[in-house]
């Protein structure tokens, strides 16, 4: 459970860095997948599977995250507005 919290903390910290730098990432890496660790981008990959598998090979402690370089949010259609989906 402690590992899970740490993974979640890594995801949250990387997300803040990612959001701040998204405009710059979009210019050259739109729709790629950013492999991130310690609030830095390790690399950009064409598929989420590539980013995930390389992350697993490089970081045995599993402390990394993968963010898609996009500014288009997911639309859940009717369901988005039927149930509150939680906070950011």
């Amino acid at each position: 459970m402690n590992t899970m919290r740490t993974k979640q903390q890594e995801i949250e910290a990387n997300l803040e860095f990612f959001k701040k730098n998204l405009p710059a990432f979009l210019e050259q890496h739109r729709n790629k997948y950013a492999l991130m660790r310690n609030c830095e981008v390790v690399g950009f990959y064409d598929t989420v599977l590539d980013a995930q598998s390389i992350g697993e090979k490089l970081f045995k402690d599993n402390l990394f995250s993968v963010q898609r370089v996009t500014d288009i949010p997911i639309d859940l259609g009717f369901y988005s507005y039927a149930v509150h989906l939680g906070a950011a």
């Binding site: 899970m4 993974k7 979640q8 995801i11 949250e12 990387n14 997300l15 991130m36 598929t47 989420v48 599977l49 995930q52 599993n62 995250s65 993968v66 963010q67 898609r68 288009i72 949010p73 997911i74 639309d75 859940l76 259609g77 009717f78 369901y79 988005s80 507005y81 149930v83 509150h84 989906l85 939680g86 906070a87 950011a88």
Partner: protein, 160 residues
């Protein structure tokens, strides 16, 4: 081409699915020893992406890989997302014999599972307590196949 079939209630489509971690599918495409659990999914053509509840993610188990922006009632929020495969389980008719497996014990039936060979990057959603489903099957899955809804006899089919 695998095809699932079911009945709808005139307003919503539900079907049984199994969520598999990507590690459950070996490089050969064969299912590694893993016992998938069947859960109920709402088929939603209005959703761009498949979503699962956090409770289901814990039971599979899945670890979040990152976060994605999602439209919600209060604007855009970032939700955990997961990497998984969607599969469709069937129970075979009673009395079915498969030479590869021992005969089922009394009260048990043989089952079969069809895995959609496309890694899904699905996000987490919160459902109402009485929602009756744990997976929102979005267009990332639906567009991989052919969905037919029949009004006359109240059935639907999805082939992929």
């Amino acid at each position: 081409m695998p095809c699932i079939w079911g009945q709808h209630n005139g307003s919503q489509l539900f079907c049984a699915v199994a969520i598999l971690p990507v590690s459950a599918l070996a490089a050969t495409g064969q299912l590694t020893p893993y016992v998938p659990m069947a859960v109920t999914a709402l088929i939603d053509t209005g959703a761009t992406t498949t979503c699962i509840t956090s409770g289901l993610a814990s039971r599979v188990p899945l670890t979040p890989i990152g976060k994605v922006p999602v439209h919600g009632v209060s604007g855009i929020a970032h939700h955990n997302n997961y990497l998984f495969y969607v599969a469709f389980p069937f129970t075979l008719p009673p009395g079915t014999v498969d030479p590869n497996f021992p005969p089922p014990s009394p009260g048990q039936v043989l089952g079969q599972i069809f895995v959609l060979h496309k890694a899904i990057q699905g996000c987490e959603l919160v459902t109402a307590p009485n929602a009756g489903f744990e997976v929102l099957l979005g267009m990332d899955v639906i567009s991989s196949g052919s969905l037919v809804v029949q009004g006359g006899n109240g059935t639907f089919s999805f082939s992929f």
